[in-house]
């Protein structure tokens, strides 16, 4: 592995940025590598530009799914390894339930990001235990943060904020998308999302009302029901 490639890879994985590394493991150019990041130019030690473009496309798709493995390109076999960012819960709406959910998420191995444009809600005092606090509109904040390891939890209770978040999250690679709200709220929401252009498959992905039915009433109990649903989904159980 060339030092240039290793230095960059080390930096990216240390900062938990998504990256893929492609290595020729059989055929011509054995040991030659290409480092691939979403939305960035590749760092390529391979000279064949058509091959590099194909490898880049495959590697980015594998990165989204968290796959890795050997692919064959003509005479060459290329091993593509991927480093997706860690499992993350993004909460849209710095509400009381988000305070509880943030507390539950950490010991279960999730990073937490809380998004709210309203400065009075998203304060360090309430969310000192979150990994990241983002003061922005949900659709802006979600761009570039949604990955196959991401769960998006929409908690604002306000369609003006919830809908733009869902319109970005549902078509994305995010593995779990859920929203608060009664069944009646959900029925109205489905109509709006369809009018906004989402497909039935995309809408069917939405967990709403979010959370397992444990009879939760307090913000802490509701936070627990959401946490349990996300863990179930991570473990391959759809509840």
């Amino acid at each position: 592995m060339q030092k240039t490639i290793y230095t960059r890879l080390r930096d990216l994985i240390t900062r938990e940025q998504p990256v893929a590394l492609a290595t020729v493991v059989a055929g011509d150019d054995i040991g030659v590598q290409v480092l691939i990041q979403p939305d960035q130019a590749v760092i390529s030690m391979l000279n064949d530009t058509a091959l590099v473009a194909q490898v880049r496309q495959d590697a980015l798709a594998m990165l989204l799914r968290g796959d890795q493995g050997v692919r064959t390109y003509g005479e060459r076999q290329i091993f593509i390894e991927t480093y997706p960012p860690p499992a993350t819960i993004i909460m849209v709406g710095a509400v009381h339930i988000a305070v509880a959910l943030t507390a539950f998420a950490k010991p279960l191995g999730f990073r937490t990001i809380v998004v709210d444009a309203r400065g009075a809600f998203a304060t360090n005092e309430r969310f000192g235990h979150a990994d990241e606090l983002v003061h922005a509109w949900p659709d802006e904040a979600l761009q570039g943060r949604l990955h196959s390891n991401t769960a998006v939890v929409v908690l604002t209770h306000d369609p003006k904020l919830d809908d733009p978040a869902l319109l970005v999250a549902l078509p994305s690679a995010a593995r779990f998308v859920g929203a608060l709200g009664s069944s009646k709220t959900q029925a109205a929401r489905v109509i709006r999302l369809r009018e906004a252009g989402l497909t039935d498959d995309q809408i069917a992905r939405l967990h709403a009302p979010i959370g397992l039915p444990i009879g939760g009433r307090t913000p802490e109990e509701i936070g627990l029901s959401i946490m349990a649903q996300i863990v179930a989904e991570r473990n391959g159980k759809s509840l």
Binding site: M1, K3, T4, Y6, L9, I13, V25, I30, Q68, G69
Partner: protein
């Protein structure tokens, strides 16, 4: 790779040269999945793993050689393979391991 970065840092700070072994393909049961890494330094240090311990000896030797020659190689271990019997791949699967030296200059 995340699990071996700290070891590489330590060895490089001491001026040791490093090779990286990566599981690139597995068939059947194997204790470490695709992407698992083991790193070795020319001073004889090792960290990480590529199997349950059955092929680490052969991989260690291959890593030392890669540091000396500067050449990358793909190694195949499997039950029908005589070399694999010698190093005792008990799990019954096959594993391909890519061995590469870590460059010291840009």
């Amino acid at each position: 790779m995340r699990d071996v970065v700290a070891a590489i840092d330590t060895w490089q700070q001491r001026g040791e040269r490093v090779a990286i072994a990566t599981v690139v393909r597995t068939l059947g049961s194997s204790p470490r999945g695709v992407g698992a890494k083991m790193v070795v330094s020319d001073a004889g240090n090792m960290a990480g793993s590529v199997s349950g311990g059955c092929i680490e000896g052969a991989v260690f030797t291959a890593c030392q050689q890669a540091i000396r020659t500067g050449q990358a190689t793909l190694m195949h271990f499997g039950v029908p393979d005589e070399a694999a019997w010698e190093v005792g791949l008990a799990c019954g699967g096959t594993i391909d391991v890519f061995i590469e030296p870590l460059g010291t200059s840009e």
